[in-house]
């Protein structure tokens, strides 16, 4: 059993609300090694996403992810806007016109999202970016692919959280934190953190619907 279009909509909305809740934390993380806008940027973008989802009328999970993508692209700006926008767009494309998302499809969509982020941002693992949360998340999802979507996303969320935490000692080589050189070490990457927040919220939403 997978997630219906209604369940996907609800999950993305929950994820959006979680990111909105984490605004100040993300601002603070970015203030220290960046320019302090990551939380504000995502707050603006995901607030717009929630408004779009309220409009409803989506005929497939892919349609939900696509409107999320285009809304993020047109409202977030900064590095995170095009990167998260591409991630959701590629995930939507990977889903095609299925009407339910199962564990395997979720893993495939996550993998497409990661490929999109790397294609646009050219970051490698270890560069201290959201890629450091997404890469282990994709690997974890792939290895639990035969489980239900809730378990796949839970594995991805756990891995993303660990991956984000592991950015702390890294010296940034991409994004604004790279200007700091060695001084970027010792701090959590804001984009890796927001990726972990997003995946955790999606996983929680999926477990709730799948447990019902």
């Amino acid at each position: 059993m997978g997630c219906s279009v209604e369940e996907v909509t609800a999950a993305v909305r929950v994820a959006a609300e979680k990111v909105i809740e984490h605004r100040d934390e993300l601002v603070e993380l970015d203030r220290v090694i960046g320019d302090g806008d990551h939380g504000e940027n995502l707050h603006r973008g995901f607030t717009a996403v929630v408004a779009k989802l309220d409009g409803g009328g989506f005929d497939s999970p892919a349609a939900v992810l696509k409107v999320t993508a285009t809304t993020l692209i047109s409202t977030v700006g900064g590095a995170a806007g095009p990167l998260y926008g591409t991630a959701f767009l590629r995930a939507a494309t990977a889903l095609g016109d299925v009407s339910e998302v199962d564990g395997r499809m979720a893993a495939t969509a996550l993998e497409a999202a990661l490929e999109g982020v790397v294609a646009r941002g050219k970051a490698a693992p270890g560069d201290k970016t959201m890629v450091d949360a997404l890469t282990p998340a994709v690997a974890a999802a792939r290895s639990t692919v035969d489980a239900g979507i809730a378990d796949v996303l839970m594995a991805a969320a756990d891995a993303a959280a660990a991956g984000a935490a592991a950015t702390v000692p890294l010296v940034a080589r991409k994004g604004r934190a790279s200007y700091l050189g060695e001084r970027s070490a010792g701090h959590l990457d804001p984009g890796a953190r927001s990726t972990a927040v997003l995946l955790r919220a999606l996983a929680d939403a999926a477990s709730r619907t799948q447990r019902q």
Partner: protein, 330 residues
């Protein structure tokens, strides 16, 4: 946080309203998506020069929209690059049939958003080229960083290419000219104090009373090196040394820029020192610009930019310009 603002989230929109009111004959200011356009745009048969980026660097970029410089500027939220839609709308508004040149400061966010906008606009059949400005010697240009940042030199690229476009240079010529200016321009900044982004509410970083930050960015990012505060002679020497070690110069435009909060008195003082140090190194200052032009909100500090000149570039620099912040010859 002490600022003359209302709602931190509405700062840019409200400032644009004031800018529209202040320059009714010069500018058309659009909201949703936000853009500052030349009042007479599109200019038929001319390459349109479009720039933009996060707000908080005023007068960059909106203050440089007008005859002989930018056709459009896309202001993002404070320190956040504009979105692709916004840039695309500006491109379409000012495209006069001869193509569009995007002048983009080299930051991941700006590059990605302008890139997306360019793709969309090209899909609509508009010839769009992009030139990245990366003049900041504070950042090592290597595989291991996002590359050098665009800072003070951006203004010079905008002025020189804007003059060429005004005279009717075609898109290829404008693109090559912009690349040539970028290649010959280097900057370095420093800060005495940090700035406070309205939606953050506290300073971007903290410097002790006896510290300064060398290699500061224009987004309130801390720089590369924190040092004990020095007299102006030492500060300016550090900037001049780093710039002239990075690239060799003969004839230059010297641009002494305030980061926003440094008063003119100090800026002229620093400018005088820079002129003296350049003369000692046998570098001829042919043109100069002194003022708060590429700022970081209320940050106290300064940057120096050197731009290599030849007769063609001097001629384009001297060409008439009529914008809110830079005006001569008309």
């Amino acid at each position: 946080m002490k600022k003359i603002i209302n709602d931190p989230a509405a700062v840019v929109a409200e400032a644009l309203r004031g800018m529209a009111a202040a320059h009714p004959d010069l500018l058309t200011v659009r909201t949703d998506p936000a853009a500052i356009l030349r009042a007479d745009a599109p200019v038929a048969g001319r390459v349109a020069i479009v720039s933009g980026g996060g707000s908080g660097h005023e007068p960059l970029h909106g203050g440089f929209v007008g005859r002989g410089m930018l056709h459009a500027a896309c202001p993002g939220p404070v320190f956040t690059s504009p979105t692709p839609d916004q840039v695309q709308a500006a491109i379409e508004a000012v495209h006069g049939g001869a193509g569009v040149l995007l002048i983009v400061k080299n930051y991941t966010g700006d590059v990605l958003n302008f890139e997306t906008a360019a793709e969309f606009a090209m899909a609509e059949g508009i010839d769009v080229r992009t030139v990245l400005v990366d003049d900041d010697v504070a950042v090592k240009d290597s595989l291991y960083t996002a590359g050098r940042r665009g800072v003070g030199g951006t203004l010079l690229v905008e002025k020189i290419v804007g003059a060429a476009a005004e005279r009717g240079a075609d898109l290829d010529t404008c693109e090559r000219l912009a690349q040539r200016v970028v290649a010959g321009t280097r900057s370095l900044g420093m800060a005495l104090t940090a700035c406070t982004v309205p939606h953050v509410g506290e300073p971007s970083f903290t410097l002790a009373d006896d510290e300064m930050e060398i290699g500061i960015g224009i987004h309130g990012e801390p720089g590369r090196e924190r040092l004990p505060l020095e007299p102006a002679d030492g500060i300016v020497r550090r900037l001049v040394d780093a710039i002239t070690e990075d690239l060799s110069f003969k004839r230059v435009l010297l641009f002494t820029n305030s980061m926003g909060g440094t008063p003119q008195l100090e800026l002229y003082l620093a400018h005088g020192i820079a002129e003296r140090l350049l003369a000692e190194r046998g570098i001829t200052v042919e043109r100069r610009l002194v003022g708060p032009y590429v700022t970081s909100l209320e940050m106290q500090g300064m940057s120096l930019t050197l731009c290599g000149l030849d007769d063609e570039l001097i001629d384009l620099w001297d060409a008439p310009v009529h914008t809110a912040a830079l005006r001569w010859g008309c």
